[in-house]
Structure formats: structure tokens, C-alpha cells
């Protein structure tokens, strides 16, 4: 069997690593195994070995201190969708799903600031569909405000028209957009 890393020399060392999905096993030659331990070799191609970086530099220290006093969540918040805890996230350095971002929203700016030269907010491309949805949501909110005013002023006919409008917009929001019901 050839070394999985260099694919040149025969594999002589089995290199086991704990990941989120359990233990991974890599068969390496002496040389690659030596480097993998010395320089925290990581099989992915990120410019930085993020796992090591997060786990050793951020993890365990200041980022978790806030949570440690909280006995109900010894591992920090837990993502309801994929089950990842904040503690585990710092360990493996990867999110499990999009909901993780919501779950760890309060903690993330500090993580991002360290990774991205102090930046914590996105400043680039926005998907068109997201903009459209955003515009529709805004429109829906406006209609509702007007509708409320109409109801309060007892202009019920106007309110009924507005309600129909709101329903149309709501249908356009393909994802249901909002969990509030229109009257």
C-alpha cells in the first residue's frame, strides 16, 4: 500500500485522527507521518489548518469562559438542526449546517474577527433571490403597518383590500417567509 499523502513511498504508519464523524485512519509513510505530527498536517487544502488554529488558540480560553459558569450548557449553545455544540465547533473548526450560524450568532463575531483581520460583517455579493425576498418581506411589513392603521381608524374596507394584497405578497414568498399570520 502506498502512502496516502505522497503516493510515492510505501505506507508504514497508521495515522488516526478524531473528527466529527468518528475516527479517520490515514496510511502514511515515515516521512509524511513525521511531517504530519510536526506541522499538524491536515488533509484539506485550507491555507491555514483551521482546526488546530481554532482549537488551540481560541478554544478553552476566553471564548468559552462565558459559558462555563452556565451549568445547563457546559458545552455552550447546541445547534438544534445538526446537534453541534459551540465547544465541539471550536474543536473541529467546522460548522455542521447553516443553522449553526444562528445558534452561535452571539459568539461568532469574536471568532470571525480573529480569522478575518478584525472583520465580522459580510461586504460582498448578495444573491439576487435573497434581495428579492428581502424586498418582498419589506413590502409585506409595510402593508401590515398600513392595515393596522386602517383597522384602528375603523376603515375596514381599506383593511380588507390591504389584507388581500398582503396575501398575494405572502404567496410570492416561496419559502413562506414569515411565520406570522395575516390577520
Amino acid at each position: 500500500m502506498l502512502c496516502e499523502n505522497c503516493k510515492e513511498r510505501p505506507a508504514t504508519v497508521v495515522f488516526k485522527q478524531e473528527t466529527m464523524n468518528g475516527t479517520t485512519e490515514r496510511h502514511l509513510c515515515d516521512k509524511c507521518a513525521f511531517y504530519s505530527q510536526t506541522f499538524s498536517f491536515s488533509p484539506d487544502q485550507e491555507p491555514l489548518s483551521i482546526q488546530q488554529f481554532l482549537a488551540h488558540w481560541l478554544g478553552g480560553s476566553e471564548l468559552l469562559q462565558g459559558q462555563k459558569s452556565n451549568e445547563t450548557f457546559p458545552d455552550g449553545p447546541k445547534c438544534p438542526s445538526c446537534g453541534l455544540t459551540f465547544h465541539r465547533f471550536l474543536d473541529i473548526g467546522k460548522f455542521g449546517c447553516a443553522t449553526c450560524y444562528d445558534t452561535f450568532r452571539e459568539q461568532l463575531p469574536r471568532v470571525f474577527a480573529k480569522l478575518h483581520n478584525g472583520n465580522t460583517n459580510h461586504g460582498g455579493k448578495v444573491p439576487v433571490s435573497f434581495n428579492e425576498r428581502f424586498a418582498l418581506k419589506k413590502q409585506l411589513e409595510d402593508i401590515r403597518t398600513k392595515m393596522k392603521e386602517a383597522v384602528e381608524a375603523e376603515r375596514f374596507e381599506e383593511a380588507a383590500i390591504l389584507r388581500d394584497e398582503a396575501n398575494t405578497v405572502k404567496q410570492q414568498l416561496a419559502d413562506g417567509g414569515d411565520d406570522q399570520h395575516v390577520i
Binding site: 487544502q45 467546522k94 470571525f112 472583520n119 459580510h122 461586504g123
Partner: protein
């Protein structure tokens, strides 16, 4: 369109030694990381999830009008075929992990590759020859916008595109330029340049990825941060730094030539001798000699040698390609012998030795 041609055809778009500054910049690559809103990221997805993501992406890509893609899942390829796609830089080493459910969609001319179920659900990669940052980004951006019309991306107003690794969050973009910097390496200036560049939010590494030394004096310069700056700002920074490196490399070549022409010529011709006459050629030595000969051609010292052949050899010398070319599996020792023979053949030096079995143990 059959997928076989991507494996069989040795040369790919980015290897043609064209494009601006092609004497120093080998290729420009843009990668966009995207995820779908309603599925767990590949790191914790089940096989079922992965299949559904695959189907959704396939459908979304099939509706694209401007480009036609051919796709395959990694599990349908042999280990050697997967290795070849990595060596052609058409897929990442991470995608071919046999325990995962990765697949790839490639455009006909191989400039666009869409990796599915890598670290993120979707990774759009555009790779162009020479220095073409803007062209490569326009292409990637266009593919991204088209896919987005049919799929719901995981996106957040504050954090931007949501990716599995926090180092990609925001634009999800990694832009990189692959450069041949022999003069900066010979004069050891590169050692001072690398830390300076990393202070500017960019990262320099050997072409074979993290932690690897720069084999063949080939370096990859890419953006390190993805959050905060817009795509255009990131690309502009990369453009500036790359241009400064190109200018610096050119200057160093001139100085090298002016100060020690005989020494330089000696080194370059020795390397030419090695690749045209060696009988055993390990990959590190081959890469070093190719770098020297390439420099020799750029400086007009070595003539009558086609740069395209050198580019080709750079790719051919890798283990996967060698074995495909040989049509059989080769041990490391056998590869070194075969590599030497391949170099002699391609460089047009007739092998006048008595015919022997080349896969014989050295």
C-alpha cells in the same frame, strides 16, 4: 458528452502557457464555496442527503444555457482516474476521499469545475492560463448567479455566504495565482517576501498545498480572508500583490543575469542536461530541473525548446499521469525510471541505448 475525455486528454485549458505574464504566472484560479439552505453540510450529511444535494445541483446545472457540463461521481472512477483529475487541478484532493460522496461537473473546455459534496455542498472553480484574475472571476460569478436562480443558497445578511469552514464565510471566495518565481527563490528574497505578504491578508505557499515546500519554485498566492471585503476589493489586492511579485521577479532575473551570468548558465544547462539524459529522475529533481530550464527559456539562454512541452512535462511527471501513460501501476522506483524515459522522449533526445525493459527494477 462522455467523461472519459477528461481523464484521457492530458493537457487541460490552464496548461497552455498563454495569457498575460505567462512567463511567470502559470494559472489563475477562482473558487466559490456555496451551500444549500435546507441540507446539513457534507461534514455531517448522510448518504441520502448527499444524493439529494447531488440531484438538486445536477438539475440546476442542466438548465444552464451557456455551458454544458459532464458529471461523474467520484465513486464511479478508479483511484488512478481520481488521482489524474487532482493532478490536472480539476478537483481538490479532498473531493476524492472514498469515504465521502463527492462528485464533479466539468465544462467541456475544463475551465469550469463544479465540485459537489466536498467540504461545502457546492464549490465552483474556474481556472485560466496566465494572469487573468478578472476573466476568471467573471466566469465563476456568472456560473454562481445562474445556479443561484434555481437553488436556495445558505446566506445570511450579516455573515454572507455560509460555509462549513469559518475561514471561508462571507464571500466564500478563494482567488489564487500560481507563479514560477525562480529568481526570488535563488536569491532567497522569497523568504522575506512571504511573511510580508501574509500581513496583507494574503497567503503564499508551495503549489502542492499546505505545508509543502515550493516544488519547482512554484508558489500559490491567495487571499486569506473572505469576510469584510467585497469580491472586487479582494481581487484588486491580489492583483496588486501579484503584479508587484512579477515586477520583483523580473528585476531579480536581470540582476542575476548581470551579476553571475556564467554561474547561472552553468546551472541552467546542467539542469537541461539532467532532464535530457538522466536515466533515473525522482520527482523533486525533475521539478527543480524543469524550473531551471523554464527560466533558461524565459531568459533566452536556452533556445529551440518549446515552453508548451515543459508545461506538459510538469503535469506528466506526477505519479497518476505517469502510471496512466505507462498503462500499468508502477512502484516509486519504477516511476523514476519511467519519468526519465518520458522526459528524454518528449524532449526529442533519441534514446540510443540498447532496448531494454524500462520497468525493470533500477
Amino acid at each position: 458528452m462522455s467523461f472519459e475525455k477528461f481523464i484521457k486528454q492530458e493537457l487541460t485549458g490552464w496548461m497552455v502557457a498563454k495569457g498575460e505574464h505567462s512567463d511567470i504566472v502559470l494559472s489563475t484560479r477562482i473558487r466559490l464555496a456555496r451551500n444549500l439552505q435546507s441540507y446539513l453540510f457534507p461534514i455531517c450529511a448522510s448518504e441520502e442527503d448527499a444524493k439529494r444535494v447531488n440531484e438538486s445541483v445536477d438539475q440546476a446545472v442542466a438548465t444552464m444555457e451557456e455551458h454544458h457540463f459532464a458529471g461523474t461521481s467520484m465513486s464511479d472512477l478508479s483511484p488512478l482516474e481520481r488521482q489524474i483529475l487532482v493532478e490536472k487541478h480539476l478537483v481538490s484532493p479532498q473531493l476524492i476521499d472514498p469515504d465521502k460522496y463527492g462528485s464533479v461537473l466539468l465544462s467541456e473546455d475544463e475551465t469550469i469545475s463544479i465540485m459537489v459534496n466536498e467540504e461545502d455542498h457546492i464549490r465552483i472553480q474556474c481556472i485560466y492560463p496566465g494572469f487573468q484574475i478578472d476573466t476568471a472571476y467573471e466566469q465563476a460569478n456568472q456560473v454562481d448567479s445562474e445556479i443561484e436562480r434555481n437553488l436556495d443558497y445558505a446566506f445570511d445578511e450579516t455573515f454572507g455566504y455560509l460555509t462549513s469552514c469559518p475561514s471561508n464565510t462571507g464571500t466564500g471566495m478563494r482567488a489564487s495565482v500560481m507563479m514560477h518565481l525562480p529568481a526570488l527563490t535563488i536569491t532567497k528574497q522569497i523568504e522575506r517576501i512571504i511573511p510580508a505578504i501574509s500581513r496583507l491578508g494574503m497567503v503564499v505557499r508551495g503549489s502542492y498545498g499546505e505545508g509543502s515546500e515550493a516544488l519547482g519554485n512554484i508558489y500559490q498566492i491567495s487571499n486569506q480572508t473572505t469576510l469584510g471585503k467585497s469580491e472586487e476589493e479582494i481581487l484588486k489586492d491580489l492583483d496588486n500583490i501579484s503584479k508587484r511579485l512579477i515586477a520583483h521577479e523580473k528585476k531579480s532575473r536581470e540582476i542575476l543575469l548581470a551579476k553571475s551570468q556564467v554561474h547561472l548558465e552553468n546551472r541552467l544547462y546542467r539542469s537541461l542536461g539532467t532532464i535530457t539524459h538522466a536515466r533515473i529522475l525522482p520527482s523533486a529533481e525533475a521539478a527543480r530541473c524543469l524550473s531551471d530550464v523554464r527560466l533558461g527559456i524565459d531568459l533566452g539562454i536556452i533556445e529551440n525548446l518549446d515552453m508548451a512541452i515543459l508545461n506538459e512535462l510538469m503535469i506528466f511527471m506526477q505519479p497518476g499521469f505517469l502510471q496512466q501513460y505507462a498503462g500499468t501501476e508502477l512502484t516509486s522506483d519504477q516511476r523514476d525510471v519511467f519519468r526519465a524515459k518520458l522526459f528524454r522522449d518528449r524532449l526529442g533526445i533519441e534514446c540510443t541505448q540498447a532496448p531494454g525493459n524500462n520497468s525493470e527494477k533500477s
